[in-house]
């Protein structure tokens, strides 16, 4: 396992990483998800020793590796551009790390073949790098990083150079490969779908800080900060006042919206602490209907935007825009139609506002009540 403790890095006066702490358990894949420039690649380089942090510790399997050069860190790195040696063929590329370790010819051969076999690239062994397709290069780069049997595998946007169709195919293959090998890894990407598929845990990063760490489901359904919510695709973030609170539910008035809503609060302790809350509603949790129902409000469709397999419907509910997602088959309305927008009481979940904090600073108040206490 690997632990990062309060890693800080400045370029000139700009903080690129600000007190980043996270830990990755054995044989787990942690995905660092964030927009470009958020510091995620810098963090990988620091773990690999290609860059030095200003402050903070890197603990790999109970060993502080802050002062070790990259050569001694036992880290496998898959670069964004693959960084395969163009003057060596596939076999020589994969064998590079083992040759440097001066292993006997025979062992090198066995290990390289074994790795090529796992990744199903044995037939490429004599090919030049320039003869490989993008997907093949990615596998060779992965093989080269894995063959040295690293304690941690770092992957820097390994799929971003590929076209979308191939990327979609390869991210599932990559997940299977990583699971089968059982490697501890940190995977950097800006693609939510990639993060959800590949990560056991996801850390959302913005401007050098980790906003939230959680399982893909936690990140997706219970984002804590506005940034995290927007990054996982929650378009609807509503500011509301709690006007009534009982054991299980609250009645909440949304700013600029006349009708109050009923929200199930049992899972969220934040309602006991705060009167003003920000509520997320995932676009797919919004129901569109012709009749008034419980928890519904009148609205008008202002736009319908086709977006691949789904339709994005934009609804005006009196000064506030809502984004809903539906399918072509289910949508019976067109632009300018007056409709009723209704919400399930479980559709709302509050942003609890706190960024991820490093253990040294404070223990965050939990956003979600654990099952036993609920």
């Amino acid at each position: 396992m690997i632990e990062l403790v309060n890693i800080t890095k400045k370029f000139e006066d700009r903080a690129v990483l600000n007190d980043v702490s996270l830990s990755v358990g054995d044989k787990e894949i942690m995905v660092l998800l964030g927009p470009s420039g958020c510091g995620k690649t810098t963090l990988l380089k620091i773990i690999a020793g290609l860059m030095k942090q200003d402050n903070g510790d890197i603990v790999l399997n109970n060993r502080v590796i802050n002062d070790l050069p990259p050569q001694k860190r036992s880290v496998g790195f898959v670069f964004q551009d693959y960084a395969l040696f163009p003057h060596k063929n596939v076999f020589e590329n994969i064998a590079f790390g083992l040759k440097i370790r001066k292993l006997p010819e025979k062992e090198i051969k066995n290990r390289v073949y074994e790795t090529m076999n796992t990744l199903e690239i044995e037939h490429l062994k004599d090919k030049k790098i320039s003869q490989l397709s993008g997907g093949q290069k990615q596998r060779v780069a992965l093989a080269r990083a894995l063959v040295i049997d690293p304690e941690i595998l770092l992957l820097d946007e390994p799929l971003s150079a590929l076209d979308p169709v191939l990327r979609e195919k390869l991210r599932e293959e990559l997940k299977n490969i990583l699971k089968n090998i059982g490697v501890t890894g940190i995977y950097v990407t800006h693609d939510l779908a990639e993060a959800m598929i590949l990560g056991d845990h996801i850390a959302i990063m913005n401007e050098g800080e980790i906003q939230q760490i959680g399982t893909p489901d936690e990140i997706f359904y219970h984002p804590r900060t506005e940034f995290a919510a927007r990054f996982v695709g929650v378009k609807n973030i509503l500011k509301g006042h709690v006007i009534e609170l009982n054991n299980e539910e609250a009645i909440i008035e949304i700013t600029n919206v006349s009708t109050p809503f009923r929200v199930r609060t049992i899972k969220y302790p934040i309602f006991e602490r705060k009167k003003v809350v920000h509520l997320c509603v995932h676009p797919e949790e919004i129901n569109l209907g012709s009749e008034k129902e419980e928890n519904s409000i009148k609205g008008k469709i202002t736009d319908i935007i086709p977006n691949g397999p789904v339709l994005k419907v934009i609804i005006d509910i009196g000064g506030l825009e809502l984004y809903a997602i539906t399918t072509r088959r289910l949508l019976k309305y067109s632009v300018n139609d007056e409709i009723w927008v209704s919400f399930n009481r479980d559709a709302f979940h509050p942003l609890c506002g706190k960024k991820h904090r490093s253990p040294a600073q404070e223990v965050p108040k939990s956003c979600i009540r654990s099952k036993s206490s609920a």
Partner: protein, 264 residues
């Protein structure tokens, strides 16, 4: 834009292209033509021609250029390496010094070598005491050629090294390679083309070196010096022949250089 206007512009364009071709013929092609006519009107009489007057300068030029090229490779690779990959105080100054011989007039270079390696020079005097004379020997010619030609080597290798993606070096590091292993396994093989083209340019420059060599060669004659001496003494036959030899060598060098450039 009217048709007339367009036509005028077109004619102007054609005229200016024609004009530059004319200038090129007058300035660059006609000297070569003159040499050819000169050879035809002063046919070389191989009966009377002393082979030594042609062979000796040719051999001296080929060997000294070879020596200065080898020295340039040995000095140029480490120099290009540190200029590309290392940061140290006065790096900018070193960079300027490396390129300085490109802009310093060769006669100045020759003069500097004279006051450095001459009998009473900065390095020449201690060597003289040890019984070693450099000035006016073959060794002086090699030093002059190296001084003038080394920048071509360093620049060529350095631009090849700068083209190596930094992620390749990082990858080698994470795979455990030491700095020397990275140099041997990644940097050097990927600079091969730069070293090769640097070698050819350096050799060509060394073969053609005149100004600096003139100041330090004493009675020795490289090809360019022999051409100068024969032209001054009115020995057209030898000057023609030596010029032709030098032009053929230069032409061949450029052809090989272009081949390498296309292949990479």
């Amino acid at each position: 834009m009217s048709y007339m206007h367009y036509k005028q512009q077109y004619l102007g364009f054609r005229f200016s292209i024609g004009f530059s071709i004319l200038i090129f013929i007058l300035l660059i092609i006609s000297p070569f033509l003159a040499l050819l006519l000169n050879i035809l009107s002063n046919p070389i009489d191989f009966e009377t021609l002393s082979p030594k007057s042609v062979i000796d300068p040719l051999i001296l030029s080929v060997l000294t250029s070879l020596a200065s090229t080898i020295i340039s490779i040995l000095v140029g690779i480490p120099l290009a390496y540190i200029l590309t990959y290392k940061n140290f105080p006065m790096k900018d100054t070193l960079d300027t010094m490396v390129n300085l011989p490109l802009v310093v007039p060769p006669s100045v270079a020759g003069y500097l070598l004279l006051i450095t390696f001459g009998k009473y020079g900065l390095l020449g005097y201690p060597l003289y005491i040890l019984g070693i004379t450099i000035m006016f020997t073959t060794f002086a010619i090699v030093i002059a050629q190296t001084f003038v030609a080394l920048p071509f080597m360093v620049r060529s290798i350095r631009s090849a090294m700068e083209d190596i993606q930094s992620s390749l070096i990082d990858a080698a590091k994470t795979l455990g390679a030491s700095e020397f292993e990275i140099f041997r396994e990644v940097v050097l093989p990927l600079s091969k083309t730069g070293i090769l083209s640097g070698t050819i340019m350096t050799y060509a420059r060394a073969m053609g070196e005149f100004g600096a060599t003139m100041m330090v060669c004493g009675l020795l004659e490289t090809l360019p010096i022999a051409i100068y001496n024969n032209a001054l003494s009115g020995d057209r036959e030898v000057a023609n022949l030596l010029s032709l030899v030098l032009i053929i060598i230069s032409f061949a060098t450029l052809t090989i250089f272009k081949r390498i450039a296309v292949r990479s």
